[in-house]
């Protein structure tokens, strides 16, 4: 804290800048996040292959999705296992609005976020009202996922088992259909920047401290004035909204959605859980680092063993998750943190 004061009054503008960027670990995480975003933003200058561009776009998207889950599970410790429900709701909303009601995805994607947030609100309401905690809460979300999958499989309005396909059309900006990859990249990046800012704001504010308190010890938090139900609900809604918007973009990018693919626990593990866990659940940088490591490695693994055996990516994910819990609970972000402490703040006892 005292360092903060002297940096502010110091006439050395470089030191000022350094402080703003990496003065504490939170700021450092934010700076690294934006650095990574910037790298992705300029990647079209170096990469022309649509295949590699696609990997970056999806990595970007996985990062936002990871952030959305991080807020619910990482910050607040809620065992919302079937988070992909929100992605599904957002995706279906966006494509239904476009196909059936001709509402442009620029509106449809945010609306997808709203629908997902509403779903989050309902789920939070029900689980809080009926006191579903811990394992019961996790199982409830899984039951919901399976039930929803079955419902969507039979619901013709959303295409049933076949799913919904984006209507073929000429590339057009209003319809968010592009002939090349870079425009998709920039939309994904915008979403990611939005997610990073939301996550940071939540983390640094009163809400962030309250969510963490709830995660660490809910009863103690209540004793200190934290309205646990209210904050848990808000966390779920924010996470759901981000996931919903990601789902909306996802459907525009891959141009199709179906119940088996999206109400899918395996996919849930791969694209929602694995990233933040590898990167460091509960940290700011974790979801982003995790997604950037997760997606490319998954692709590499899939690609290098060509058409041979399936299962490799699952083995890798499984090992990632197991190793994370057993050996590296703070993930890659935790390693970065240790590095940061050693390089920038070698005094012990400083955060």
């Amino acid at each position: 804290m005292t360092t903060q004061v002297s940096a502010k009054t110091s006439p050395n503008s470089l030191r000022n800048l350094l402080h703003i960027l990496i003065g504490d670990w939170d700021r450092t995480q934010l700076s690294i996040s934006f650095l990574l975003v910037a790298l992705m933003a300029i990647s079209p200058l170096f990469i022309s292959s649509p295949y590699y561009m696609g990997i970056i776009i999806l990595a970007c998207l996985y990062a936002v999705i990871g952030i959305s889950w991080n807020i619910v599970a990482g910050f607040t410790g809620q065992l919302l296992i079937a988070h992909i429900i929100f992605l599904a709701f957002g995706g279906y909303t966006t494509i239904v609005l476009l196909n059936t009601f001709r509402i442009m995805p620029w509106v449809g994607i945010p609306l997808g976020g709203v629908v997902a947030a509403l779903a989050g609100w309902v789920i939070a309401l029900i689980t809080l009202r009926y006191g579903l905690k811990m394992d019961y809460f996790a199982l409830f979300t899984i039951a919901l996922l399976v039930a929803l999958r079955t419902l969507f499989l039979k619901w013709d309005f959303v295409g049933g088992a076949v799913g919904m396909y984006l209507r073929l059309a000429e590339p057009s900006v209003p319809k968010m259909i592009f002939a090349t990859k870079p425009p998709y990249l920039y939309i994904a990046i915008s979403l990611l920047v939005f997610g990073i800012l939301v996550q940071y704001q939540v983390y640094r504010s009163k809400m962030g401290k309250y969510l963490i308190a709830i995660r660490e010890d809910e009863a103690a938090a209540a004793a200190l004035g934290v309205n646990t139900s209210k904050y848990k609900t808000i966390a779920v809604m924010i996470g759901a909204a981000l996931a919903g918007m990601s789902g909306g973009f996802y459907v525009m990018y891959v141009t199709f959605i179906d119940p088996t693919g999206v109400f899918n626990l395996g996919v849930n593990v791969e694209i929602i859980m694995a990233g933040p866990i590898i990167g460091g659940l509960g940290s700011l940088l974790g979801p982003i680092l995790g997604a950037l490591v997760n997606k490319p490695i998954a692709e590499l693994v899939r690609g290098s063993l060509a058409e041979s055996r399936s299962g490799i990516s699952l083995i890798v994910y499984g090992l990632f998750l197991i190793t994370s819990i057993m050996v590296m609970p703070k993930g890659l972000a935790g390693l970065c943190h240790s590095l940061y402490l050693r390089l920038y703040r070698p005094n012990k006892n400083i955060e």
Partner: protein, 290 residues
């Protein structure tokens, strides 16, 4: 619905329920002792069914004869997983426990896909289409064998838990870890043993399913979800509850399948699951676990 179909569906449901009961008994045993929901549980059923496959294919063994193999191999695997991995997270945040088990589940499915391939497999025994008719009800031989075996095995395990020293030790630990320790019970050993038993019994359920059943590495996940329903329905940790719950869900599913169609019958179980979680999470046998 005519009486014939009513009773036939009932029998079919009970037969399926027998398998569900076995799987769920394993899950509830693990929960009762370690207070951890084994999110990788269905994968052990999958390993069991593949054990039957390989015994049949490589050794020409009738699938039921591979039960001892399944018990030993998968029981030991389960015990090792518990000792090496699950043990470390017994007192960790439930989120970490779930993530670890989901990771184990993913790894097992991945390994199965890698070594056994993701292509569906099946084995066919000579008697698989044989049917006997009792009281006007048609019962397929393999399913009848499976059902009777489940009854026998469940009962056997029940006797084990009630009347042997080891069984009583297991029940003691499930009631109070601390008290059991004070009485000189090696709690960590009991944890390992229980997990091994739980996974072994699930593997046996897999073997019993094997005749003419479609086998793919991801098949365990549906059984996991059904086991979750059954265990909550029958009260978590309650052995008898899991057995009865398994039969109930089997029957419910059979009727749901009749009225709604095979691909959506699972929604009946999910609805029951949701209703129980909301209105009677302590299950049919009501004792709340602290």
């Amino acid at each position: 619905m005519s009486p014939d179909i009513f009773f036939q569906t009932l029998v079919n449901g009970l037969f399926t329920g027998g398998i569900y009961a076995l799987v769920s008994i394993g899950l509830t045993l693990i929960y009762g002792v370690m207070v951890i929901v084994n999110f990788a549980h269905g994968e052990f059923l999958m390993l069991g069914i593949y054990t039957a496959f390989w015994s049949f294919t490589l050794l020409g063994l009738d699938p039921y004869l591979s039960i001892p193999f399944a018990v030993v191999l998968i029981g030991i695997l389960g015990a090792m997983i518990q000792r090496g991995l699950v043990q470390q997270v017994l007192d960790a945040h439930p989120l970490n426990q779930i993530i670890l088990l989901v990771g184990i589940s993913t790894l097992i499915v991945g390994l199965a896909q890698f070594f056994f391939s993701a292509e569906p497999k099946s084995i066919h025994v000579s008697y698989e289409t044989e049917v006997i008719t009792l009281l006007g009800l048609r019962m397929s031989i393999p399913r009848l064998i499976a059902f009777c075996s489940s009854l026998v095995i469940s009962f056997g395990l029940y006797l084990f838990l009630q009347h042997t020293r080891l069984g009583k030790a297991i029940r003691a630990v499930s009631q109070s870890r601390e008290a059991a320790k004070l009485m000189g019970i090696n709690v960590n050993y009991i944890y390992m043993l229980t997990f091994g038993i739980g996974t072994a019994i699930t593997a046996v359920a897999g073997v019993l399913l094997s005749p003419n059943h479609r086998m793919i590495p991801t098949m365990g996940q549906t059984y996991s979800v059904i086991a979750f329903v059954v265990v909550v329905l029958g009260t978590m940790g309650n052995f008898v509850g899991a057995f009865i719950g398994g039969l109930i869900i089997g029957v419910v599913e059979a009727y749901a399948g009749f009225f709604l169609g095979g691909d959506v019958k699972i929604i009946a179980s999910m609805l029951i699951f949701i209703l129980i979680l909301l209105f009677k999470p302590s299950g049919l046998f009501g004792r709340k676990r602290t």
